[in-house]
Symmetry: none
Subunit: 213 residues, 4 copies
DNA sequence: CATGAATGAGCCTTCATTCAT
DNA sequence: AATGAATGAAGGCTCATTCAT
């Protein structure tokens, strides 16, 4: 009765299982060795499959990276949006964005490593996806800034494109430092101090006495 | 008479000449292809020397990258220090730091590419140098913050380690965006807006009504 | 009632059906790609069966070629014999032989391609069958020559082994040229001119004034 | 004095030496295994060089075959032309053509094997060269036929294109049979009997009583 | 019988490095 | 010091064949 159904499901699961096992293995190996240093054999061994099996699920080595980006990373960026939506005020939205960003990258350390390496390449293997994620991030920041301006908590004289780089860059650098640090402190603890810096900067009120540009 | 001396100098110059030609060629090739994609032959061809000649000046391919960092990049970071010293106030020092950073990376685009790629690797081939540069940058920021606090323009409740990442990350992201941008706008123009963001943040004075953490 | 019988027949037909579908598919793929370039997967896809199914009907890839030769090619060569038998005189027999040879290879172009490639290999995968066909062809030619000699139309001082190569080679070359020709002229039209050349050669009667060997 | 010259010559010879060693090794391996079955490693081993060395002299595996055709085979076909020129009458020219063809292919048995296999492929790897050689052969036959017609030894009602296939095919078949024969009889002995067949055909004068087409 | 996912041996090719000249 | 031919290890990928379902 349920036999056929079970069978199909098992097959499908098996398929999915292997696909994901390879993907997860690849992320680990890419994280450890870097994309070009990683070998397909290493990935296969880590995934517990034969070398040739890789090519049943992926077109080639590069294709694994592409799938990784459109699956794992995208998934993470989608969570950014969700968390931002949970908050009402601009301040809370930014706080949620930063917090979830740090939390997710802390939780998926290997993804973080691969992501960092890839977006800082000249010839990116995944240009399209990266551009899309950047756009999404920009959208979120734009929303926060505009809402914050309406609420009166965000300055009006801002170039949002720069604000996005200002925020994303700082967060990325915090993550990057953490990735290269010996002791594994809690990355998420950086969220609030960062948010405070984003809103208040490092200056005192006296800074307004100076014409900065 | 002066012949022997000349000869030695010429030789030495010749040596230096080739050493630098190889180094410059390598940076170009690394920038275009990435370190692992670049081949020693390409570098040799670009430098106008034989493949084997590379190994008279460098231990191996990786050694070229190491030399590049301790030569070119270090040189650039040394200029950071010089420019900062030219200014008197903390504000001007930070402005000079950001400006020279953007200017130098704009001027040495290939260096910028190689630098960005390398510092975002997990297994860095040049860990030592990068750590040293990070330390130097941290020193500069510390000095600026402390002076700024004395001058009354910088808040006292700051975690300098985070401030350094906050600043460096934003600048790096601005550079990274520029590197991947189609149109080559003037990167240095970002200096003042960035400095303003660093000091004032994105918030208005009303932000102080909210307890950020 | 007739059910069981039908079933068996259907099965058998089904078997035969698949067997032949695979064989025909293989010939097409072999013709297009060559034996070593062809893949079992391509054959399976063309035949509309699973890869594994191939191995229910054939021992391995090479076995398909063997079967092809003992099935298709043999069948064609059997037709040679039949057509020759239909004629009474040596001249008509040779004409029929040449005509049917050209016609059949024109009709089965893919077979022609595979056949040509295979018999001109050093290490033939189908040595036995080829030798058998050569023998059969030799038998036909022998018969024609002997009958022709009796009838007085064929010279007596002939080395039949050479005559067979003389005829077969010329026909094969005509076919080969056709196979590689852009425009698909009617191959069968070559039959009569060829037969004339076989009988009369290219010389005039004056050629007899010369001692050829 | 002669040192530099010697050096250059040695280098050049060395180069030529290796180039030719690889080429000769490749022909042997191609002859034994066929192009697709042959491995680059086998060729390298036979030539006494490292695998990678092959790629200093040839673009890839296929390129070796291409070079082989434009070097060895072409050289042989050039000899055809030379030998034909040595004779005065059409009869002698044809005899020389056939004789040198058989002699050369007998002397270069491996070349013969590779040549036979290649020209009977559907997708030839060396289409251009083969077409050129075919054209040259056609030119020779045309010349012989026309001269023979003037001399009165060759019939006027001939389609030269067919005559070329008639001759070349027969010769090729004789060679092919020899290549696959166990006992290595003297191939050149077939020249005169073949020439006689070409001129006189297999028919007697009575054949003229019959209308062949 | 039929399937097609999985295997892993094997091949072509690249390229960092060496070394005789 | 300089050359660049030669090396050979290593890696990505293919594909004939097997076998659990």
């Amino acid at each position: 009765m349920a036999q056929l159904g079970d069978y199909i499901i098992r097959r499908r699961d098996n398929h999915n299982d292997k696909y994901h096992r390879i993907l997860e293995a690849a992320i680990q190996v890419f994280a450890e060795q870097g994309f070009f240093q990683a070998t397909v054999s290493q990935i296969a061994a880590r995934a517990g499959v034969a070398d040739g099996t890789i090519y049943l699920y992926f077109k080639n080595k590069e294709d694994i990276l592409v799938h990784f980006f459109s699956y794992k990373t995208k998934q993470v960026f989608d969570r950014f949006r969700q968390e931002v939506n949970k908050a009402d005020t601009a301040v809370d939205k930014l706080r949620n964005l930063i917090r979830i960003h740090l939390e997710e990258f802390q939780r998926n350390k290997e993804m973080a490593v691969v992501y960092q390496a890839e977006i800082h390449q000249k010839s990116r293997l995944v240009e399209a996806q990266i551009r899309e994620m950047a756009k999404m991030y920009f959208g979120i920041v734009t929303e926060i800034v505009e809402q914050g301006q309406i609420e009166g908590y965000v300055r009006k004289d801002l170039y949002v494109g720069l604000v996005k780089r200002f925020i994303l860059g700082a967060v990325d650098e915090v993550i990057n430092t953490w990735l290269h640090s010996e002791d594994q402190y809690d990355l998420a603890l950086m969220a609030d101090p960062l948010v405070e810096l984003f809103f208040k900067g490092i200056g005192t009120s006296r800074i307004n006495e100076i014409v900065l540009h």
